[in-house]
């Protein structure tokens, strides 16, 4: 039997794959954060709560209205996105003139509000959400039994990440967005409605969080605490990738998922801290992050 670092190759490949699944969540959440920070300069602390909201919407859709997973995969991000637009229009908009810290405090407050509301209604143990019919069961990959749903998570999030990256980096709309953040006055002079663009960007960024929430619902218990458990790691991912870097967020998200997965095998006790150790090292060597540009 082939061994890698003292564990059989098969087990090693299995763990690699599981790391990739978790990395998909990191990628899609940090992507939303990176888009928002890149274009709005807002550190969106509400991201975790909106991810939780996405998962809860999926659960509510199914248990109150009988709306299936696939429809909610579309609806929940839209609802979360609209909610985000309200947040931006009525609250965040007033803070752009001020320091980053105010945006962070505001969104942190929003997090506490949303989580507190859900906690008082639903408690913390969480609600069960069953895997959709079409994705039940597992596939034998030779080295492990991979539940079909987990495979779907990887595919769905990689596709969404790539589409987002493509829109922002390779299309005219994306070019306008990037220009709007560099120099809003100049772009406005060309007849572009920059405030609207910013509002929609925030809506899109948080819709990504809602999407990740629906993806997570069948894997984790749908619980008010699910966002706050994840958000700190995701922030570390964004810092390692470089604040505001789109590609950085995707690549680091997947990469750190894999590193974390392997840590769970070789030194399980450290698996919750390994991301932060890497963050510290990266900040020492490249303060702008792996993919960030020094300003």
């Amino acid at each position: 039997m082939i061994m890698i670092f003292g564990i059989p190759l098969q087990a090693f490949l299995g763990q690699l794959l599981l790391g990739l699944v978790n990395g998909s969540f990191y990628a899609i959440l940090s992507l939303g954060l990176a888009v928002i920070f890149g274009l709005l300069n807002v550190i969106n602390f509400a991201h975790g709560a909106l991810y939780m909201l996405g998962a809860f919407l999926a659960w509510m859709g199914l248990s109150y209205f009988g709306i299936n997973y696939w429809l909610m995969l579309l609806l929940a991000p839209i609802i979360v996105g609209l909610f985000g637009i309200l947040i931006e229009k009525f609250l965040l908009k007033h803070l752009y003139k001020l320091d980053h810290l105010y945006g962070l405090l505001l969104t942190f407050g929003i997090t506490l509000l949303i989580e507190g509301l859900f906690r008082s209604f639903y408690g913390v143990s969480g609600q069960p959400y069953t895997t959709p019919e079409a994705l039940r069961g597992a596939t034998n990959l030779g080295f492990m039994m991979l539940p079909n749903y987990r495979a779907w998570v990887v595919v769905a999030s990689v596709v969404v990440c790539l589409i987002t990256w493509f829109i922002i980096e390779r299309t005219r709309l994306g070019a306008l967005l990037r220009a709007g953040t560099e120099n809003p006055r100049l772009v406005e002079a060309f007849g572009v409605n920059v405030p609207l663009m910013i509002t929609l960007t925030y809506g899109f960024g948080v819709a990504l969080a809602g999407f990740a929430g629906v993806l997570a619902a069948p894997i984790l218990q749908v619980s008010p605490l699910m966002g706050s458990n994840l958000i700190i790691v995701v922030f570390a991912v964004v810092v390692i990738g470089g604040m505001g870097s789109i590609l950085g967020a995707i690549v680091t998200g997947l990469g750190l998922g894999i590193i974390e997965g392997l840590t769970k095998v070789f030194w399980p006790e450290a698996s919750s801290t390994v991301v932060f150790i890497i963050m510290a090292i990266v900040l020492l060597i490249r303060p702008a992050g792996l993919f960030g540009k020094e300003k």
């Binding site: 408690g123 143990s125 069960p128 399980p268 919750s272």
Partner: protein, 403 residues
């Protein structure tokens, strides 16, 4: 100017602090109970606001006052941090003059509180905490450990599973004091019964994904997967185990399972699982009647811990009623020489090391087809007599036990 206002208000505040003790004499006609638990985080469903409500029920059932002395309840969130809990407990003892302290969930927090209460010579009830160290190496003359502990869980579930043929074990353990204690105590039971522990993986508290740990457990080829964790960790590990089909090759033994976990996961995922519990709402007329009252207030059935909160407060108030005093030593003496007989425990008694000895129960989760009404989740497999399931005095490491 700003600075001056600030220092002025600080002086006022410190003057207020100094003035407190003088006022305290006036309020001595009040029986004050302090209750510190997890109000908002992972363990808040099994205790939290429901636990506070249970304590309020006990106070109301005692008439709200004893011999003209009003009974008051104060409560606080410890955020699962021992330092937060300790600071609050000191403030309560020293300034608000509480007469008794209840520690809700979290063993780390409870170990800290026990020390503080002992310094003040006030009774301390550990209810939601599991670590057997509370009445073992870290026992105090003022600690009463009420509902359950890691030794009882280990002896109940561990012995039953080995007896049913589960000889080889692998542990998935929460990586902190409680998880280590539960793993240690269960491993001892398994080995003593002729079983074997083939390995363990220590997962950080609040891990979001357990699949990696579960695959490691599966590759160990052990028959039994022992879950030495609690709350959200237990829920997420059972859920992932189900997704990865771990149940086909291993049988899961949940070492600490609460009814809220079962309610949250559903019976289809948890059916057939055996575990040890100190109390179940549907055991007899008395438990059902109390649970009905509880549910009317809290909108769900009580956990073992919430029932324990009620029982402990009632027993404490009985002690005050009988002795006519809220003096710590007097009350402790009464509690250690009288039996606990209520809907929670029959013929329970508080031992010199602080352990409240009462019967525990080996439970099995029903199949969905066996569940007839809401919250009908358990069937009782065996009664585990308190004398056998808790640490015996002859095995005790508590310095208060005379040998």
């Amino acid at each position: 100017m700003k600075l001056r206002t600030l220092s002025a208000s600080m002086m006022l505040a410190s003057a207020g602090l100094l003035a407190q003790p003088a006022l305290a004499n006036v309020s001595d006609n009040v029986i004050r109970i302090g209750f510190i638990t997890d109000m908002a985080s992972v363990y808040s469903d099994i205790d939290g606001a429901g636990g506070v409500e249970a304590a309020r029920m006990a106070i109301a059932d005692a008439g709200g006052a004893i011999n003209g002395m009003k009974i008051e309840l104060v409560f606080a969130d410890h955020q699962n941090k021992a330092d937060v809990a300790a600071a609050r407990a000191r403030e309560w003892f020293d300034q608000q003059k509480i007469d008794m302290l209840i520690g809700g969930t979290n063993s780390g927090v409870n170990l800290a509180l026990a020390g503080i209460a002992a310094e003040r010579k006030k009774p301390f009830f550990a209810i939601g905490a599991a670590a057997s160290d509370l009445t073992g190496s870290q026992c105090t003359p003022y600690t009463v450990h009420w509902a359950y502990d890691t030794v009882a869980l280990a002896r109940g579930t561990g012995a039953a599973v080995v007896k049913a043929g589960g000889k080889t074990w692998y542990f998935l353990t929460a990586d902190y004091a409680f998880g280590h204690a539960l793993e240690r105590d269960t491993a001892n039971v398994v080995r003593a019964a002729g079983g074997q522990v083939v390995g363990q993986v220590r997962a950080p508290l609040n891990s979001s994904d357990f699949s990696s740990f579960l695959l490691q457990a599966q590759s160990s080829k052990a028959q039994i997967l022992g879950l030495a964790n609690a709350g959200g960790d237990t829920i997420n590990s059972i859920k992932a185990a189900n997704e990865f089909g771990i149940g086909k090759t291993m049988k899961m033994a949940g070492l600490l399972i609460f009814i809220n976990d079962i309610h949250s996961l559903g019976l289809s995922v948890t059916q057939g699982m055996q575990f040890t519990d100190g109390w179940y709402w549907d055991q007899n007329e008395e438990t059902r009647a109390w649970s009905k009252r509880f549910e009317a207030r809290v909108k769900r059935k009580p956990s073992m811990i919430q029932a324990g909160d009620y029982s402990a407060v009632s027993f404490y108030l009985n002690a005050i009623k009988a002795t006519g005093s809220d003096d710590g030593d007097t009350v402790m003496k009464w509690m250690k020489s009288n039996k606990v007989n209520d809907m929670f425990a029959k013929n329970g008694y508080v031992r010199e090391d602080g352990r409240m000895v009462h019967d525990m129960f080996l439970m099995e989760v029903k199949k969905p087809s066996e569940s007839k009404y809401p919250w009908d989740y358990y069937k009782q497999i065996a009664v585990l007599p308190g004398e056998e399931v808790f640490t015996k005095l002859s095995e005790s490491t508590c310095k208060l036990v005379k040998k």
